[in-house]
Symmetry: none
Subunit: 203 residues, 4 copies
Amino acid sequence: MTNTEIISSVKDERLIEKRRKQMIQGAITLFKKKGFHKTTTREIAKESGFSIGTLYEYIRTKEDVLFLVVDAIYGEVQSRLTTMVNLEEPSLEHLMTIIESYFRVVDDMQEEIIIMYQEVKSLKKPTQEYVLQKERDMVDMLKRVILTCAPNVHKEDADLLANNIFVQGHMWGFRRWALQKQFTLEDYIKRQLTYIKSVITHL
Amino acid sequence: MTNTEIISSVKDERLIEKRRKQMIQGAITLFKKKGFHKTTTREIAKESGFSIGTLYEYIRTKEDVLFLVVDAIYGEVQSRLTTMVNLEEPSLEHLMTIIESYFRVVDDMQEEIIIMYQEVKSLKKPTQEYVLQKERDMVDMLKRVILTCAPNVHKEDADLLANNIFVQGHMWGFRRWALQKQFTLEDYIKRQLTYIKSVITHL
Amino acid sequence: MTNTEIISSVKDERLIEKRRKQMIQGAITLFKKKGFHKTTTREIAKESGFSIGTLYEYIRTKEDVLFLVVDAIYGEVQSRLTTMVNLEEPSLEHLMTIIESYFRVVDDMQEEIIIMYQEVKSLKKPTQEYVLQKERDMVDMLKRVILTCAPNVHKEDADLLANNIFVQGHMWGFRRWALQKQFTLEDYIKRQLTYIKSVITHL
Amino acid sequence: MTNTEIISSVKDERLIEKRRKQMIQGAITLFKKKGFHKTTTREIAKESGFSIGTLYEYIRTKEDVLFLVVDAIYGEVQSRLTTMVNLEEPSLEHLMTIIESYFRVVDDMQEEIIIMYQEVKSLKKPTQEYVLQKERDMVDMLKRVILTCAPNVHKEDADLLANNIFVQGHMWGFRRWALQKQFTLEDYIKRQLTYIKSVITHL
DNA sequence: GATGAATGAGCATTCATTCAT
DNA sequence: GATGAATGAATGCTCATTCAT
């Protein structure tokens, strides 16, 4: 399953990409405000700048839009994450830098990530599977970085810590009403990094 | 806002409570399977064991059901959490015991908690506020326990750690497809407790 | 497959029957004018005297309406046909009387029969099968009457003649623009009976 | 109304004819399978081997396609019928031969004829009129052959018999699920001819 | 002449909510 | 208090037709 498995009746690949970008943009805007279910296809079309008929030239069902959105969001997170993970010299400091970058990325994409938490289960099983695989990939990436930078950490711990870090990133977003009143992003990052470093050091 | 603010046209308080219990039970069953939006009021009525007309004698709108459910779930978590937090002798060990109990509670209520993550934003603002307050209370409770059992911890750290623990509990549920394949609940708890203890000890 | 296999969400059997009668009546009126495809469900609801929502309390899909209509029409033809076929004294004359009655029945239901010719293939295969079976039953009935009243006729001829008669009845309706300008019903019947008698006599 | 009254924005007559042939061919294929209403213009274009835009260069509305198809079908039947009706020596035998040929033609065009039965009423009134006229012409042709070959037959009987024969031909197609299981074409023709001859002889 | 992307009116169907019994 | 039939606004989706390239 990939982006291109969503069937479009339009042939011009370039145009498909362009229109879908508009669509994803428009849909994200709306999903942030009202969620997937309360957003109508007409609203998506309008927000995307074209008619309902045109919308359906590029997708088959409303769920396709959700998939496109979810795919785009994780694609973005993943690509940003990937670029920062080319380890020059593995070291605890380097690990900390990467985690920090990760926290900054998810801060930047807070609302998109909240969409993921709320809407993924609205996708059909196979599509959900595809999305979860993407998550797994990201956590795996973190895990590998941990193992490389802190070779003393056991595999299982690396795994669980990667999950913890992954979720602590999201948490900054989905608990922002609690956290962002008390902490600045800098502060949040500093403290979480301290805890993580402490854990890893004393394992 | 409280449970009793949902207006019912029925007078008999005892009956209201009975019917609502049925309703909440039925709704939770359905929400677990299909989510709030894909569950119809008819289905809720049927699952609850009465007619659609009767359902509407005890609520005003479909959203009321969601509120009742959400309220019941957090009420349950909170009450279970509260009973275990009567500190006899504050100590790090005692803290660990409490956190462990918390993890067991949320393990027990995994699916209910997933409902919370997915559906809370479907509530209207004031209702959301009410729910978030309940969350705040719970995190506060954890925070106070931390401060009592580990007096050396700074307030801010206690706060953030309480949030971390709170979410790590939920995470066991909402990332179960990733975690529960690799870890048993025992294992999960043991490791997370180790990390937490390590952090607190070295702060 | 029978009338009762169309699922209704209403429980009161008496009411179902009443509403469906209204519905069939309304639908037939519209199908005569515009055919099945050009008739909207809203029009059917309106013509039947209730709202679109109510319509859907008594059927599942638009095709159900068509089935109900088709079933009702053939049910009517068949029942009228059946009542006239209790052979007292088998004789050629008696056969002629029965055929005459048949011609009068289909004259009376011309437009309904035209609906059958045009819309049956819009039904799904199993439903079509059910309808064709009803046709087979009717032709069989005619065949048996022929064999009883004209024992010298071979089975195969009885079969084909029954089909001929069956279709000649319909033809009076679906070719009315050609036939009914030139012949009165009396005349039409008289001539066709003459031909049939002639054929049977000389077989 | 004739074929050429369907307005095309293309000038080249040769091209128009070529494209329309493709179109009719494609449309018939589809109408056989799904009927007129369930066939989309896009499908017709595709099946015809050109784009939807091109389709609309050669017709004005979807109904035009139906007209073209209906016109082509009756044109074909009529032309085939006409070629076989140049009476050398009028005789009852000759009449039988012609009727036999007619039965063979309609056997060959069964499915096309079924389209006629089902879709003609979807045409607008004037177009229907045009089609019915073609039918009238064909029946008239049969009538004239009858009168020529069997001069003793009264006009009215010739008329009705022509109608009977005309419909008995179609019936072989539209009741094929009943007839073609029991009779071969040869058998069907033989028996029907026997009946007809019998009727004509004893009138 | 050919193409196919764009359009939006139109349709079947659903479902929260009401209210007479 | 309980029931369930009735309602109709709302929604996802289709498809004939147009028109710029």
